[in-house]
């Protein structure tokens, strides 16, 4: 009996040692948990933002995986799961927890809706995995709530606010009134635009907060009209932006005031049509008709999704590709080393040229100040924008000197 116990004890001691020796002997081998890199797309599949991300993001992520596997033939398997977070922070964070705990998910992407994103960021840090957020807008993700496990990839409220805040104010639109969605994202967008307007000599004379998914915007717009502000900034998104713009046209705001959609995307313009939206200016992170690269990728995407990509879709494709490259380079799917590689490797693809992920998790790349074409200027379906300016990444995003992120050493 004693001998048996002794041998068990010995074996118990030896197994980790043997493992250790094995690991030492083969340093170049990939250390991928379960030989599978698993990517989770957590998005709004059926609610207000589902055209912005939704199925399009799932398609983009799958395209990225297929293209990566075909091109690099990695030694590990790549799998994808996706889920609907219903724009609810608790649903989102529970799903993330389940994915990390029981399904071996290594990285979660999309996560639009700032409320959900902030909750998922916390779970991701607690479980030491990675979130590459391509959907949410709040700058808190890389400031007060920054985390060594978060990358904020496509855009944020600072970048959205800065372009029109500067351009419109300098062009004479120096008094602003805001229509703001009443949650984290709206507040963040209003604050960042206010800063940009003030920095350029303009002033904000009022704002009104509306509930998410408001069914009618006319009374909010009437207040905006009564304010006599030269510019009405829409600090909202998706269906709320669409209905605000529609009502602004009906109530004749567009005659005397400039309407600036602060988070307007090609999806909204497509839904409203050029006659209603012509002349509007805003910031975009991507446009399919920029150059041959973007056209080629977007047409591939269009063939699968039947709609041109939003910046979230193109960003999700790029994020998944970049992540897989970082896993390959790090030789593991462990969050720490992968994140180190993510912050080292430059990003060059159809979405970003010389993109770079900073210490605070912010991915810095060029943004575009666009103006919606007149119906007569548009040559084909989805031909909607004139590019007014390319905003270089360093100017588009909040400079590191202003960072409120504790990870950044000053």
């Amino acid at each position: 009996m004693q001998r048996k116990l002794l041998s068990i004890a010995l074996a118990a001691l030896l197994i980790p040692a043997a493992n250790f020796a094995y690991a030492q002997a083969k340093p170049a081998a990939m250390k991928i948990s379960g030989d599978t890199v698993k990517i989770g797309v957590l998005t709004d599949m059926s609610g207000v933002y589902s055209d912005l991300g939704g199925q399009g993001s799932v398609t983009a992520a799958q395209m990225a995986i297929d293209d990566y596997v075909a091109q690099y033939k990695p030694k590990f398997k790549v799998e994808m799961v996706y889920a609907d977070h219903q724009n609810k922070a608790d649903v989102g964070s529970n799903k993330a927890r389940e994915w990390y705990d029981t399904q071996g998910v290594d990285m979660i992407t999309d996560v639009l809706n700032s409320g959900v994103a902030l909750a998922v960021a916390k779970v991701t840090q607690e479980k030491n995995r990675i979130m590459i957020n391509t959907g949410a807008a709040s700058t808190r993700l890389t400031n007060e709530d920054c985390s060594p496990n978060t990358v904020h990839y496509v855009y944020d409220t600072y970048a959205l606010a800065n372009g029109p805040g500067k351009a419109v104010t300098k062009a004479g639109g120096d008094t602003w009134f805001f229509l703001t969605a009443d949650y984290a994202f709206g507040a963040s967008l209003e604050k960042d635009t206010t800063d940009a307007v003030k920095a350029n000599g303009g002033k904000v004379i009022g704002s009104v907060k509306h509930p998410l998914n408001a069914s009618d915007f006319s009374s909010f717009l009437l207040q905006a009209q009564a304010s006599k502000a030269k510019v009405v900034g829409l600090a909202n998104a998706g269906g709320d932006t669409i209905n605000s713009i529609k009502a602004a046209n009906e109530f004749g705001l567009t005659k005397n005031q400039t309407i600036v959609g602060l988070l307007t995307t090609i999806i909204d313009i497509h839904a409203l049509g050029l006659p209603t939206t012509q002349g509007m200016m805003f910031t975009e992170g991507y446009y399919w008709n920029l150059n041959d690269d973007t056209r080629a990728w977007s047409r591939k995407f269009f063939a699968k999704h039947k709609k041109m990509p939003s910046m979230l879709h193109a960003g999700t494709y790029s994020a998944v590709t970049t992540y897989l490259k970082a896993v390959q380079a790090a030789g593991t799917d462990e969050a720490g080393p992968v994140m180190k590689k993510l912050k080292e490797l430059p990003i060059n693809d159809s979405f970003a040229k010389n993109g770079k992920i900073r210490a605070d998790g912010r991915m810095v790349h060029d943004m575009y100040l666009v103006q919606v074409k007149k119906p007569a200027e548009s040559k084909e379906p989805w031909d909607y924008y004139n590019i007014k300016a390319v905003i270089p990444g360093d100017e588009a995003f909040q400079p590191m000197a202003l960072s409120r992120c504790p990870l950044v050493k000053k």
Binding site: G47, S50, H210, S219, L222, A247, F251, H270
Partner: protein, 295 residues
């Protein structure tokens, strides 16, 4: 300028008018719900989806078949009504004798399916439906520019609400209907075809939702979610007015639209909840609703 609680009276008048516009939708939708509940004892959760269906049918007619606004205003409710009748004959009629919960679950499930189908086919961003030529432009009311189309919404909904109230409360047909709800067996004994009346009532209630949908189409984006954004408020309106009360639901619908409009001026953050606060208060004081009768 005269001010009330720091708000210029002109702005207040403007908001009151807009409140009447949203109140018109509440009135029309809650009226349909009240008619259906009063006659069939069914809590019709498909109502929001039918409102969406009405709007989508108008858009589809315009986009695929070049059917204009005016024919759509007639045709679309008709199609929605027929759809309602099919639902009533094939599914709902088996549930009248069971608990309310069964009807609620069935109609709720149907609503989810309808919305899911349209979301899948058209996405949530919705489709634009332009304002008919006749209603381009706005009236100058002195205190605000009221787009002509918004004025039409108020007129049309008042007409429809009044007509419905008149038919049910003041005509022989309405009297038969009320008798059929009160005592179906006895009414049948007098030679009145009760199942037919019930079927037509449900169809009519659904058509009202479709009509509201067509009215809404030019004013807001035609989207699969437009009904679900509205329907919960409309249910609160019905509860406040008193389940099954025709006049109650019309008056409460308009009244709550106005109160909500005022909330948007004084404290916009609460505009989504004010109706529910009122509902809670009303339920504490008058559990049967403002116009309801205790059974």
């Amino acid at each position: 300028m005269t001010e009330i609680f720091g708000i210029p009276i002109q702005a207040l008048m403007g908001q009151l008018t807009l409140g009447l516009v949203s109140g018109s939708f509440y009135a029309m939708l809650s009226l349909g719900l009240a008619v259906i509940f009063g006659m069939l004892n069914i809590i019709n959760f498909t109502h929001g989806a039918l409102y969406m269906l009405g709007a989508f049918l108008a858009w589809m007619g315009m986009d695929y078949l070049q059917i204009g606004y005016w024919p759509a205003l007639l045709l679309s409710p008709l199609v929605v009504g027929v759809f309602g009748i099919v639902v009533e004959r094939s599914m709902l009629q088996w549930l009248y004798k069971l608990d309310h919960l069964y009807g609620l679950l069935l109609t709720f499930g149907l609503a989810l399916m309808l919305e899911g189908l349209f979301t899948n086919a058209y996405g949530v961003s919705g489709q634009p439906y332009s304002i008919p030529e006749e209603f381009m432009g706005a009236f100058n009311l002195g205190f605000m520019f009221l787009p002509k189309y918004r004025a039409w919404i108020i007129v049309a909904s008042l007409l429809v609400c009044f007509a419905t109230w008149f038919v049910i409360e003041k005509t022989r047909l309405g009297a038969n209907l009320r008798a059929a709800t009160e005592n179906p067996k006895l009414t049948q004994a007098f030679g009145i075809n009760v199942p037919l009346m019930v079927m037509l009532t449900y169809g009519f209630g659904c058509a009202l939702a479709g009509f509201a949908g067509v009215l809404a189409a030019p004013a807001i984006q035609v989207s699969p979610l437009m009904g679900s954004n509205l329907i919960i408020v409309v249910f609160a309106v019905v509860v406040i007015g008193g389940m099954g009360s025709i006049l109650g639901s019309i008056l409460t619908g308009l009244g709550l639209g106005v109160i909500e409009g005022l909330t948007k001026v004084f404290y916009p953050e609460a505009s989504a909840t004010v109706v529910f606060i009122i509902m809670a208060i009303v339920l504490m004081i008058r559990p049967a609703g403002l116009f309801g009768k205790e059974k």
